[in-house]
């Protein structure tokens, strides 16, 4: 049992974090507003989850200006890809063994 869940990562416990990681896995980068629309959550909620993932080094923030408007976009780090893959494998294993 211990072996089964060892790949599951606490940092991905929340659905929203799973959503953020899923999007960033398959897109080179994604901006804040588009993330918000895709996941259908509030600014504050999204920002706090993004902060948590950023603090763990799983995603990176890029702030820039498009014209005069500030634009914040995110991309996944190599470590993020690796940890998320392990998490997905663990989820799959968990399903297959039952």
């Amino acid at each position: 049992m211990k072996d089964l869940i060892s790949g599951l990562n606490k940092v991905f416990d929340s659905r929203i974090r799973l959503g953020i990681m899923s999007i960033l896995m398959v897109n080179d980068s994604y901006d804040f507003n588009s993330l918000k629309e895709s996941l259908n959550i509030t600014d504050g909620n999204l920002a706090s989850h993004l902060k948590a993932l950023e603090d763990r080094g799983l995603i990176e923030v890029k702030k820039q200006f498009i014209g005069r408007k500030p634009n914040t976009s995110y991309n996944i780090t190599t470590e993020g890809i690796q940890l998320f893959r392990e998490h997905l494998n663990a989820l799959e294993k968990l399903i297959r063994t039952h």
Binding site: G19, I23, L88, L94
Partner: protein, 211 residues
């Protein structure tokens, strides 16, 4: 085991989010059908505009600078094609927008922007090339060029939406190449490529994903 159910659901959600963020699935078969109908209507108007037998005079009518009055026909034909283009773009946007709204999805997303960019690069190249062909008096190649570049655009856009678009693109290119072999029959290949192929594709897509 409850944990098991939620893992399965998590995986399903993850897969769906990954697909939704990389594929624009709000394209509607209905826009294909309407684009096809507009193209055929446009061709009928063109046949009506061309004085005499269109099979013989179609290319002649596209020449903008002759002194026997055909340039007026050329302008009318160009206007006709532009109206078809505008109506087609409007119907593509309208039905996609409607489908997105009905399924509660966003219409203007990073993936829909990427789709448009990838579609329009070949289209703008083709449109500009067609303009040059008119200036260089190679009007007989305009329809093959439209078909070929449109097909390239679809293949390019296919990465960001239903994969069936890819095969429609191949067929459009093929139609364009055959059309280039029979320059006098441009209008006929216009009807096949932009009319019939669109309608068949639209009906297939509608029945597969929307009916």
């Amino acid at each position: 085991m409850e944990n098991n159910i939620s893992s399965a659901e998590d995986l399903k959600t993850i897969r769906k989010i990954m697909e939704d963020s990389t594929k624009f699935l709000s394209l509607s078969g209905l826009s294909g059908i309407f684009m096809g109908l507009f193209a055929i209507a446009g061709a009928m108007i063109a046949i009506f505009l061309i004085p005499g037998n269109w099979m013989i005079l179609f290319n002649e009518s596209l020449k903008t600078s002759t002194n026997n009055g055909t340039s007026a026909v050329a302008l009318k034909l160009i206007l006709d094609a532009l109206v078809v283009l505008v109506l087609s773009v409007i119907s593509a946007f309208y039905f996609s927008f409607r489908k997105a709204r009905r399924s509660g999805k966003a219409f203007w997303t990073p993936v829909s922007k990427r789709l448009l960019l990838n579609l329009f690069i070949p289209l703008i190249a083709g449109g500009t090339f067609a303009l040059i062909l008119i200036i260089q008096r190679h009007g007989e190649l305009i329809i093959p060029v439209f078909l070929i570049f449109y097909g390239l655009g679809l293949i390019n856009a296919g990465k960001f939406t239903y994969s069936e678009i890819f095969y429609l693109g191949i067929l459009e290119i093929f139609t364009g190449l055959v059309a280039a072999l029979f320059p006098d029959l441009g209008l006929l290949f216009w009807i096949i490529g932009f009319g019939i192929l669109h309608i068949v594709y639209g009906v297939m897509m509608y029945r597969k994903y929307e009916a």
